[in-house]
Structure formats: C-alpha cells, structure tokens
C-alpha cells in the first residue's frame, strides 16, 4: 500500500471544517469553564461553610469522573431527564467546560496560595481595601505563577476536544476518521491529523516549559 499525501490535500476543506469545530469546542469549553473556575476557586478559598464544601465537592466530582463518561452521560442521559435536546457540540463542550472548571479552579487556587503570606500582611498593614488587595497585589502575582500550568492545561483541553468525536461532533478527529472510512485511506488522514495536533500543541507546550524555567529562575 502506497502513502498518498495528495488525498489529504484534496480533502483539506473538510479537514478545515473539522478544525473549525474543534476550535469552537475549545473556545466554548474555555469560555464557560474559566469563569466557572473563578467561582469555584472563590469557594475553595473559604476555610469553612457551605460554599467551601460545595466548591470542594465540585472539584472532587469533576476530577474523578472520566471526561468521556461525562460527555456520553450529558449527550445521552440529559435529554430524557430534562426533556430538552441539545446538539453534541454544545453538550460536549459543556461537559468539557465542567471538567475544565474543576482543574482550572485548582490551578488558580495553587497560584493564589503560592503568593507569600508576607504579601498579604503588607497589604493588610497598609489598610488596602479588599478590592485593591486582590486586583493589585494578589492576582497579578498569582497569575504569573499560574501561567505555565494554565498553558499546559490549554494543551490538555485541545486534546480533550477529540473526545467529542465519540458523540458525532464533526471535529477534526471525526472528519479524519470519516474521510479515512470513505476512502479506505486511514493511514493518510489519521497521520495527517496527528501531525496537525502535534504542530499546534508542541510549540505551546514548549512555551509553557520555557516560562516555567524563567519563573523558577526569577523567583530564586
């Protein structure tokens, strides 16, 4: 069997359609997940009480359930339970958003907690209002420390979007699979998308690594 790269080029428009769907799923999951993560993180920062327990429970549940199971569950079980049907792209992206929120909340929390206690004390001793303490002192420093794990998480999320193919969302992975099936050229299409994902994700992962080293050097 010959490897025919032309067949990939000829079907590029379909693959690009798939890539567009992948990007939409990624953006939806991040756009919904990040604000939710901020809320969960706020709950996690409390020491006691209902909100702390709720946020803790949230993180546990959505980190333990495998993403694929949650994606299936929301796609197949939610419509009969609620009486609403939502399409795969939305329900799948929402599932990814729920899981993302759990992971991102922990990334944000780790960033906030790594701001040294002396910074909080200095801010308190200066009588800084809460708003100023958070916006000018804590969050800028936490954001710096959270950036490498955050970027790493983005690569995981992009990889996670391929799971939506399992509920029929026509993302890049599904397009490649379908095209492979239609042409019996799995080798070309699946190799092509493996390359595409690699080319996108590898530089981002390296960038995160580089930032991590730079941060480690600057905080010594």
């Amino acid at each position: 069997m010959e490897f025919d790269p032309d067949i990939v080029i000829r079907n590029l428009p379909k693959l690009l359609d798939g890539a567009r769907i992948s990007v939409i799923a990624f953006a939806l999951a991040l756009g919904l997940g990040a604000p939710l993560a901020a809320l969960v993180c706020a709950g996690r920062m409390r020491r006691h009480g209902f909100l702390a327990a709720l946020a803790g429970g949230y993180v546990t549940v959505f980190r333990v359930i495998p993403e694929a199971v949650l994606i299936f569950w929301m796609f197949y079980c939610l419509p009969p339970l609620t009486g609403y049907t939502i399409d795969g792209l939305w329900s799948g992206s929402l599932a990814l958003a729920l899981v993302s929120a759990a992971y991102l909340a922990e990334i944000f929390r780790a960033g906030i907690q790594s701001v040294p206690s002396g910074q909080w004390e200095a801010a308190k001793a200066l009588a800084l209002p809460r708003r100023t303490l958070w916006l000018r002192v804590v969050i800028p420093q936490a954001a710096r420390l959270s950036t490498p794990p955050f970027i790493n998480f983005l690569t995981e999320l992009l990889k996670g979007t391929t799971l939506l193919a399992t509920i029929g969302v026509a993302d890049l992975a599904l397009q490649a699979y379908v095209l492979g099936a239609q042409t019996f050229r799995y080798m070309e299409f699946l190799t092509a998308i493996a390359l595409i994902y690699f080319v996108i994700i590898f530089p981002v992962a390296r960038f995160a690594e580089w930032m991590e080293h730079r941060l480690a050097a600057s905080t010594r």
């Binding site: 040294p116 002396g118 910074q119 004390e121 200095a122 308190k124 001793a125 200066l126 009588a127 800084l128 209002p129 708003r131 100023t132 000018r136 002192v137 800028p140 420093q141 710096r144 600057s218």
Partner: protein, 246 residues
C-alpha cells in the same frame, strides 16, 4: 492627659494551646520610642503584630490611637490606616516599581490623586535617601535599599505610629546601618515608634524605654540608661550578657 498611642491591658494570646503572651500591660505615649527585645520565641513579634491586628488577642484590651481592636474588621482597618509597619523580610510588592509600591496605599486608601501620591512618594523616598531608584523593581535593589523603600512606603500613609518588626535581621551586616540611620532620623522627627530589634546600639541611642520579654512575659521595662547599666532581673542580665558579651 493626652490619649496614649497604644494602650494594652491584661492582654493574653494563644496559638492553639500554646500561650504566646501572658498578661501584657503596656502604655505608649505619642512621640515615645520603645524598643522591644528578648530571645527568639519570647513573643516580641507577636506582641507588635497585635498592635495592628495581624495577630488577634483572645483576652484583654488593645487600644490604638483611641480605637479598640475587636473582631470588627472596621476597627482593624481604622487602626491600620494610622499605623505603619516594617517587616523583617521587607514584603515589598515585587511586581510593582518602587514608586508604585509607594503610591498604591495613598491612592486607594487616602484617595490621593496620582500626582499628589507621586509627589508624596518622592518626598519620602528622598527622606530615606533613595529617590533615584523610584523606577526600579524591588528585586533590582539591595536588601538595605529594599528596607528603606519599605519604610518610605509606610511613611507615604503619614502614619501616627510606626511598628518595626526586626527590620535589620534579614540584612547583610554592611547594610544594617543605612536602615538604622533612617530610623534614627525618623525618631528625631518625633515619630512614635515601636521597634522589635536586637540592635542594642540603636536601642541605647534612640529608645525612651526598652522592654525585655521572655516566654511571653514582659520581664522588665526601663529607660536605656537603667536597662543596660542596672538590669533588675537575672534573665535580662543573662540576655544582655549573651548579646553584648562578644
């Protein structure tokens, strides 16, 4: 009689089951300079941190500039606006320039315009002899410079009282005097000061009163002349022997 800058009555403080401060009574008058010394773990830092409620006391009263510190966060806030604090580890905001460190609180707490806050910052940076560094970041400065910036940052709030928690303990020896010089100037200008320090030369020249603490108790209080020449308690003598003996 004028209102004391700090009034502490029968104050007790615990960390869990460990009693860190025992029955503390202390009155500090406006303009007074008090040095607190004692072995490590004697509770001196805890005591000074109770004055701006970075630590909470469990019993007794702490009244600062007429405001009693209670569970009400507004009381702590009111006190902190008038009380500056300088930390052993400087605790400058590393992501902000020296100037931004200095204008942050005056702008957000005192509602100063940026122009007024910057003018004030430059004035106090000049006072701690470091105006040329205002555009730099804390990480680019030496320890002594950072601590002087931290003093200027506190002074920008124009506090009535300054707390110093071992301000020279984290410094290389050659940088200690530049910080002590600034503190001495500040004392000469009439600032009310409470300093936890082991710098006995500074204590001798600047303090109106020296307080010696051990195991959470105030053991002895005396003006420097009496304190160094005729300490009354064995523990004070032992401590002075240890830190002045070599």
């Amino acid at each position: 009689m004028t209102q004391p800058a700090v009034l502490i009555e029968n104050m007790n403080k615990w960390f869990g089951h460990f009693q860190a401060l025992h029955d503390i009574n202390l009155v500090i008058a406006p303009g007074e300079k008090v040095v607190i010394c004692g072995p490590s773990g004697s509770g001196k830092s805890t005591l000074i941190r109770c004055i701006n409620r970075l630590e909470e006391h469990q019993q007794g009263r702490v009244v600062v500039d007429g405001t009693e510190l209670t569970a009400d966060p507004k009381a702590a806030d009111r006190v902190r606006r008038e009380v500056g604090m300088v930390f052993q580890q400087f605790n400058l905001f590393p992501h902000l320039s020296v100037l931004e460190n200095c204008v942050l609180a005056p702008m957000s707490v005192r509602n100063l315009s940026r122009r007024d806050a910057e003018a004030r910052a430059i004035r106090y940076l000049e006072r701690v002899r470091i105006p040329e560094q205002s555009g730099k970041y804390p990480g680019q400065l030496s320890g002594g410079q950072q601590q002087r910036v931290a003093i200027a940052r506190s002074l920008c709030m124009e506090p009535k009282l300054m707390l110093f928690d071992e301000p020279t303990s984290a410094l290389d020896p050659e940088m200690i005097s530049e910080v002590l010089d600034v503190m001495t100037d500040l004392a000469a200008d009439g600032m009310t000061m409470v300093c936890v320090t082991h710098e006995m030369g500074f204590a001798r020249h600047v303090a109106d009163r020296i307080i010696f603490m051990d195991q959470g108790h105030i053991i002895e209080e005396a003006p420097p002349a009496t304190f160094f020449i005729a300490p009354r308690h064995d523990r004070t003598r032992a401590f002075l022997g240890q830190i002045m003996g070599h």
